[in-house]
């Protein structure tokens, strides 16, 4: 993002990012995305993508099974709600720890290989977890129906402090309800913290080591350095981010389903990262936002909305335009996303961040030319 990497520029970026995230309810209003559920999704999948980028963007390992950690985080959080307390703090902490442990196991095995073999191994593990959650582990995961809260859950910690109400209690952070805006600010603050951590990791010697692994792992090995502990640490950190995102999904909506672990969900985070810009700090968050926006807003456009949008056109033309545009919205939103993805990958392999950089370079060049042009007469003198 920034032209030069200095602590000062990093701090400015951090500040801008924090302000942008926290003011989402205001600047998302014109594009119809400023309702709590979608903003929660922006923040949550932003966290997921940031974590994924530490592994993929920084270390160069493409994992195709990250949704497994997301799912594990969700299940852990819901179980914490069921057994311990509706307070989100233990849920988030346990989810991060369990997802970390789980990713240590999978990472320990998968990282014996690199490149495509690593991707396939992680994909296999994720698909295995998905199928386990779907069928064999039904007592823990409630299979296809999904794990839900029930009024009869023990909630041992809550039972000590408060009398049970008439309905199922809702999740809270020491009294602040976690649905609606409360939930959004909770996720948003964790997103900012997550972003800051990833910034520190990128700038640290450890981050340098990860970049070295990405650029040439063989050379690293020839210098006598064992790269595996570093890669494994990156894998676990990234798994913990995914677990955090998973737990936040459960925090804002206390339900966990197996479909969260499906390979399509793993693919989605890869798309988010590539769309925004692999290896950049801000890119994955952007990508996550765009994909979630498409999924929730574009998919909801129906014929009557389109008709009212294009009502300024003459009748015959309006019908044609509505039926053509109709292919790309509503149930066809995948088509639009696919096209956008193709365009980005072909023309901007560095994602949206590369696009922004190109625009900036173009602008500066123009300015330089201009100033060069104004200087010319002096030279002629």
């Amino acid at each position: 993002m920034m032209s030069k990497i200095t602590p000062r520029n990093d701090n400015v970026m951090m500040g801008l990012f924090a302000v942008a995230v926290l003011t989402m309810p205001i600047w998302l209003m014109p594009i119809g995305a400023s309702y709590p559920d979608l903003m929660q999704k922006f923040a949550i999948f932003g966290i997921f993508a940031i974590g994924f980028n530490i592994l993929f963007g920084l270390t160069g390992y493409l994992s195709f099974g990250h949704a497994a950690f997301l799912g594990v985080g969700s299940y852990t959080a819901v179980w914490s709600f069921k057994l311990l307390s509706m307070n989100v703090l233990p849920a988030v902490v346990f989810a991060v720890l369990v997802a970390g442990a789980f990713s240590f196991l999978i990472g320990f095995i998968s990282l014996r290989r690199s490149g495509i073999y690593f991707s396939i191994l992680t994909l296999a593990f994720a698909q295995m977890s998905y199928n386990l959650a779907y069928s064999v582990l039904t007592p823990i995961t409630n299979g296809e129906t999904g794990l839900q809260l029930a009024k009869s859950d023990p909630r041992v910690v809550d039972a000590l402090f408060v009398e049970a109400g008439a309905g199922i209690p809702s999740t809270n952070f020491f009294g602040i309800a976690m649905s609606g805006y409360g939930g959004f600010y909770f996720c948003a603050i964790l997103l900012i913290v997550g972003f800051y951590l990833s910034l520190r990791i990128t700038r640290s010697p450890f981050g340098m080591m990860l970049k070295a692994i990405k650029s040439n792992q063989n050379r690293m090995s020839y210098t006598g350095l064992n790269t595996r502990p570093y890669a494994l640490t990156a894998f676990v950190i990234s798994g913990m981010y995914a677990g955090l995102a998973g737990s936040l999904l459960a925090v804002t909506d206390p339900l966990a389903g197996a479909e969260r672990m499906q390979w399509t969900a793993s693919g989605e985070v890869v798309l988010m990262t590539i769309l925004g810009g692999v290896g950049t700090l801000i890119g994955p968050v952007l990508g996550a936002g765009i994909i979630k926006y498409f999924e929730n807003i574009f998919s909801a456009f129906n014929e009557s909305i389109l008709t009212s949008i294009f009502s300024f056109l003459p009748d015959g033309l309006q019908d044609v335009v509505v039926s053509v545009v109709g292919l790309f919205v509503g149930e066809g939103w995948h088509l639009t996303l696919g096209l956008l993805f193709m365009i980005i990958v072909i023309y901007l392999p560095g994602g949206l961040v590369e696009g922004a950089q190109r625009i900036r370079t173009y602008a500066t060049k123009k300015r330089e030319k201009k100033s060069a042009a104004s200087h010319q007469p002096q030279i002629a003198e």
Binding site: I5, A18, L22, S135, T145
Partner: protein
Amino acid sequence: MDEIKKGVSRRGVLKGGTALAAGLAAPTFFMRHAFGADFRNNPGDSSSVTFGFNVPQTGAYADEGADELRAYKLAIKHINGEGDGGLLNTMQPLSLKGDGILGKKAAYVTGDTQTKSDAARASAKRMIEKDGVIMYSGGSSSGVAIAQQSLAQEMGIVFMNGLTHSNDTTGKDKRRYGFRHFFNAYMSGAALGPVLEAEMGKERSAYHLTADYTWGWTQEESIKNTTEGLGWQTANAVKTPLGAGDFSQYITPVLNSGADVLILNHYGKDMINSLTQAVQFGLRDKQVNGKDFQIVVPLYSRLMAQGAGENIKGIFGTTNWNWSLQDAGSQAFVKSFGQEYGFPPSQAAHTCYVQTLLYANACQMAGTFYPPEVIKALEGFEFDGMGNGKTLYRAEDHQCFKDVLVVKGNDNPSSQFDLLEVVQEVPRSQVEYDASIFGGELGPYEA
């Protein structure tokens, strides 16, 4: 490199950033409660109310979803007094006047559940938080329906279930804010039992293939209870993943199991695939234990019958409603649906249409959109003229009780839609049960 040079201290920036963030966040925290609405999405003085229609537009149940959406649009038209009025002409007792609800026009928004709980809830939340719907509805998968129904309770917005057949929807997982007009697996079993006994006798051995989620589980249980009550054996019950596509690995073992009846607890495209494969494997031409091998599909729909083509001929099952019914309500609905879209409606369309009208009517009856009052108006509401004869919305579990149809795949269809032959209209009294047998709790009126 000037990296060591100090600009503004990091601590300073962080402090400033936090203060700024808190300042920006504060007004939104206070604003939240400033609008003084007495219940969520109160239409207040606005001239319209919005309904949310959340149906599967992609995935295994997409055909059903498309038909449901057609029915919803038709219902909105009729509520607003457009078109021929449909069931508003036959429904008894009726409070709606064909000029909207309580003087407000009905509008709608749509969403795609993708037949996934997560996506369905995200879509429903968009409707509630962004579009301000006063009620939402939709269906085709019980797992998704249950997930949406519990969201309804959390949010305090009424959810009218569309097509969902699991016992759990109005049993173990029932909610005060969820209502179901559709019948359930228990009723299928109770209605199917006597017919199976008459057609296939008392000495049979059944093999179940079951979709592995809440609906499949409860249907398998209900049908098993019925058939075992008749004296049948249960050879085996195998769970298959939802949307499996290829069922050959599950059908091959049936041949060697000694079973002479295959019960397919599948729905939608799954049922089309499993039935087609079972027929291709020659199951129906086989003789086992000296009897003809039979296939039963406990939950039938015309859309599935269309998909399975020739293979459904002579196969027994149950449905909630069929367009060939001759009562005034069914006829009126088939007529206005046919005029609008050019073909007869499915049972999914019927139940969704009726649910929308019932909700609108309850608001009119209650004289308010305040959910607890609307819920009380629906609870114990008895009506007629909507197909299926006299129907009761039972207050204890929000389940409708009405006649159930036992049907058979038509041997000589007269048209591409005339696929199901109604074997018997099983009266309501035969399928009723005690509300307490499935457990569960409705929860409070105030969400």
